[in-house]
């Protein structure tokens, strides 16, 4: 113990101490004022857990979740780590289990790290589903897949055919040659092209390494050497920006079609300029919305793969693609007309 502790109290310090206690009490009271609603609300509570709370993508997902919560009379508690911290997300889930939420709907930062906590949640009767990023299959009842790789690949190839025609030479730019989602999208694009548009020739695949500048440079070099290229496939959101920037710099807007994955906030200027006509992704708002409808079905006991579908409000019926996997629906295509509806 320090010497401070052995000294007796003096009159002067008593007032200071009272001031301190007041401060502490005030903080506690202030903190409780932050409560959105008391935890003992009569309706059921679903915890909607993103990878991290502040990203516009997850904020949009929460919008959809809250919308569905209102329609279904569920209290939706949006809570997750501040940054992509796995232990932080595990802590959050453990807390949710202790605070006895009725269901958890989570986008997992790690498929194995979250599994033990989610299994404990299920043991305590909490219904668990995952969306966007899955966990080990025994740690949740169902995974909501935002869009199948095949459907995305096919939509991208169709956009290309619409913009550039069905024959000629094409380029593909990807962010990574190892990331499993990008590999799956590349494969899906190539398969669709081979099947539906056999005269389209994807001459080569360049690596942008998810770096706008690097992707732009490799694309510039290629397009200068191969001016006959009719279109560029982009396999990730950053490659889409790189390629659009390269096409803009070469003054080839309208001559080269860009088709691929695009994130609205990042490609908005290119869409408005007409450099990119259509870009493919899914709607995070709809993911959140659908995830809550699945939670509701789990809570009501109406969730049943044998039915083949889950009802999801304005989205209609969602199909099972496996006994524990539900598909959100067809990919979302952004263009000049609808891009302003999306903010992520």
């Amino acid at each position: 113990m320090s010497n401070d502790e052995r000294r007796p109290s003096r009159l002067l310090n008593t007032t200071r101490r009272q001031a301190m206690m007041g401060l502490g009490g005030g903080l506690l009271a202030g903190a409780s004022g932050l409560l959105a609603r008391p935890a003992f609300a009569a309706n059921q509570t679903v915890a909607f857990v993103p990878k991290f709370t502040s990203d516009p993508y997850f904020v949009s997902a929460n919008q959809g979740a809250q919308e569905a919560g209102k329609e279904l009379g569920l209290t939706v508690q949006y809570n997750g780590p501040v940054d992509a911290n796995v232990a932080g997300q595990v802590d959050i889930v453990d807390r949710l289990v202790r605070s006895r939420v009725d269901a958890i709907s989570i986008c997992a930062l790690d498929p194995t790290a979250l599994a033990p906590s989610l299994m404990r949640a299920q043991q305590k009767g909490i219904k668990v589903n995952t969306w966007d990023a899955d966990v080990k299959s025994d740690a949740r009842q169902v995974f909501l897949n935002q869009a199948s790789y095949d459907a995305i690949g096919e939509t991208i190839a169709d956009i290309m055919a619409k913009g550039a025609g069905t024959s000629g030479d094409f380029l593909m730019v990807t962010g990574s040659l190892t990331a499993s989602n990008m590999l799956a999208w590349m494969k899906a694009i190539q398969e669709t092209v081979a099947k539906k548009y056999p005269d389209m020739h994807i001459k080569t695949t360049l690596l942008g390494e998810q770096d706008i500048e690097k992707g732009k440079n490799v694309t510039l070099n290629y397009l200068r050497a191969n001016p006959d290229t009719k279109g560029v496939f982009t396999v990730d959101g950053i490659a889409e920006i790189s390629v659009a920037e390269a096409v803009k710099q070469l003054g080839m807007s309208g001559k080269i079609t860009i088709a691929g994955i695009g994130v609205p906030n990042a490609i908005r200027p290119y869409i408005k300029d007409g450099i990119i006509k259509d870009a493919v992704l899914w709607s995070p708002v709809d993911i959140g919305y659908a995830a809550l409808y699945i939670s509701k079905a789990q809570l009501d006991g109406t969730f049943d793969p044998a039915k083949g579908v889950v009802k999801a409000g304005r989205l209609g019926d969602l199909k099972f693609t496996a006994k524990d996997e539900v598909l959100l629906g067809p990919p979302l295509v952004f263009n000049k007309d609808n891009i302003d509806k999306y903010n992520f």
């Binding site: 502790e5 000294r7 310090n13 301190m20 506690l28 903190a31 932050l34 796995v86 033990p116």
Partner: protein
Amino acid sequence: MSQPTTRSTAPAEASPRPRFAFTRTHGLALLLVIELAGLGVLVPGYLEPGSLLDTSRTFIETGILALGMTFVIVSGGIDLSVASLLALVSVVMGLSYQAGLPLPAAMFLGIMTGIAGGLVNGAAVAYLGLHPFVVTLATMAIYRGAAYAISNAAAVSDFPPWFTSIGQSYFAGGLVPAQLPVLVVAALACWLLLDRTTFGRRVYGIGANELATRFSGVPVERVKLAIYGLMGCLVAVAAMIQTARVSTARANASIGLELPVIAMVVLGGTKITGGAGTIPGTVLGVLVLAYLQDGLVSAGVRNDWGLVIVGAFLILGVLANELFRRAPR
């Protein structure tokens, strides 16, 4: 009000009521009681023993770090690298296990990494005479960077059940988390070390007046080296528990954890400039902050506010230390 006042040896003339001195530790204990009572009202079932004990899983690693940090700050130092070192230990252990080393050997390697990381800090502070803030700000980047570099930002997740049970199992009828005794034992050991040994006296001495302590014949450099080495060792223990608890070793583990650790220690009454502070105080600081953060999340408050609370309590802690301090030492 659980704190005994056995050490109140106040001179009678200093106060009209010398029997009971209301200290900062008492205030903190009272705050904890009020806080838990408040949470008990807000969150149904929060005060059930099972729930309270289970919550300890979220602060055991932070608590272990706070114990070591108490020594560091009492000695007039600071260690900003603890969270980075924790990640490095975890990654070293995970990767060497994945590379084929038996897990106990990998754990040993991890512990050695922790101690080495602490000793590097200590050597730079003690023998190069660099300011601990600068040293550990640098190693905070170095250890984190090394963790990312050697793991290539990939995670190791396939630990055997006996290992993950360190952080995920319970005993005493499923009530007590397996890792809780580690914190309790560490707290007792640290309390004995700081309060009851020559080493502990020297730690206070260095923090209160390094020059005077040196002239009293204390090997200041060796003591400092030992303090940071102890910190590194406790980091390694915390790293084992966290890796077991989340069944994952990855380079971005516990980012930003140094902040709550320092906040808890300061809230517990440790003077940020050194020379004063106690282990019981730190334990109370850990409990107050950890249960507040946990309880508010349980009550439905967004986790983002947790950071605001930690920051606020850091300032509140420093302020309280000033207000409760009497004549300059």
